[in-house]
Amino acid sequence: MSERAPLIRADRVTKRYGSFTAVDTVSLDVFPGEIVGLLGANGAGKTTLIKNLLGLTVPTEGAVIAFGRLPDRATRGRLGYVPQGLGLWPTLTVAENISFASAAFQAETPTLEPALAAVQDRLVGEIGLGLQRQLAFTIALAHHPELLVLDEPTSGVEPLARARLWDTVHDQADQGVGVLVTTHYMQEAQQCDRLVLMSHGKAVAAGSERDIIGNTTACEVDTPHWAAAFAALDEAGLPVTLNGRRVRLADTPSDTITRVLHGAHITADVREVPATLEEKMTVIDRAATPA
């Protein structure tokens, strides 16, 4: 895959606002037909990196190469973008939004899906968020972009609609479109071919889900006194999470856990299991957090 030219490349991109470094020496490629997930907590620098990739802001250091050149008017015509806020004109109707975007990209007005066709004469501000997302996707795809950039595309969308939007993303990738998607839903991260994890402005890990998790393990604590166990482990400053009634701790030796539980007079079965992507992210984020 790396022999092919990337659709877009961030080359050691750094973006500073005064003394604050929002993105720190991040490199990233998106190739045709692949879905690259950009993961990270709020404030990790994902959206700033996206803005640099789109040419909305320019890197303080490093460079962005889109379709072999610096982002400009011509490169913008080759990408589709769904921003977090959707970028729709709420006081225009669905049909007017589509008509304007099609004219801007000099593309044919797309045929609307039945759900959107049913509300095409309604103001965008009056239709539901799910339909608004669908409309934003339709607009982003209308001019057949080679690269699709999606910033938190399914935020606030109910699960069924989310699945439908992901079907659209996969269809596009199957047709050779490169997709760069930011998300903090771990289930969505699993739909990506490749992931880049950002924390505090840096790209701290990259690869497939399996690559990123690597040998990191978690411990699952099985006890009827799960609430007390959770409280004791949390009080001991360990990275404890609760999954239903199962207490889990990422990247923590089992004997440390056993010792804390023993000290709290809690009997439990502690067993080592593979860490989840979310747990790995927590571990990485803790490691990257400045002291």
Binding site: D11, V58, R76
Partner: protein
Amino acid sequence: MWAMILKEFLELRRDRRTMAMIIALPLLLLVVFGYAANFTVDDVPTRVYGPNAQAVAGKLHTPFDVKKVDPAGTEEQARDVLRSQDAGAVVVAPSSGPATVFIDGSNLFSAQSVTAASKASGGVLQPEVLFNPELKTSWTMVPALVGMIMAFIGTIITAIGLVRERQAGTLEQLAVMPFKATDVIVGKIAPYFVLAAFDMVLVTVLGCLLFGVPFAGSFLVLALGAALFLFCVLGIGVLISSVSQNQGQAMQMALLTLMPQMLLSGMIFPLSAMAAGVRWIGYLFPLTYFNMVSNGVMLRDAPISSLALPLGLLAGMAVLVFSFAVLRFRRDLAPTAPKAARDAVAAGGTR
């Protein structure tokens, strides 16, 4: 309650624009009403024409400020001088009998001052008011209102319209569309330009119909002045939008630019009656020059040559403000990569 008061002060302290308004507005009002709010004109630039000019000129006192004495000057020349606003009054003194004072009625307060002085001369001076014989306030106010309405619409609607795009995130969407920055800015402000121009025509026509205000001059000259003025105010609107995060801030900033224009442009208080320092602030505003054009065209049939200065200054301001606004907008919409990055890409120096 104390916590609430403290919180409010903390918020206010960090809201620089509101703080600026709290500090700037009282200062502005103090300066304006202290130094500018004066309806009494003490010095009216005056010329004295006619065979008896020297003798009459020697007897003139406040508010006549004799600038030129020309015994060969005629009544016809006097009218032309007033039409071009080279003087506020021209006294034509024949070899015998009372002198006639021709007064520029388009300059209301100067005219009132000179008329009163002439009437108090005991028959030595006979006043004749030109361009606004009955000295109606509405006749001088309507041409000024034309400019003020364009300033309000041009500045506020443009600023709010652009900030609304930014707030809704649609400005970002426009920035990723394959538009040129000039396409976006022209496309965005053209409707406001048309609407403000429509309002100008509407106010002018209604002003003439409802208040009987004459339209003595060329509509084309007024249209030229209006177009230049609109570029100024639309540019100011764009600049305001570039430093405002929300519509409230844009409104505040717009009012901060509009209030001084209204008060110091000569629309309400005569420029000639203001203290010099304050008058010069007035000379910085485009509305001051548009008022000169609209007043000159509508009331005096002023020829374009006599309006060359205000038109030229409006053109200069339009180019300056609008270019700066476009550059600022372009920087926000399509920032240029630093030279180092451009060179690196050109040299194939990326990874």
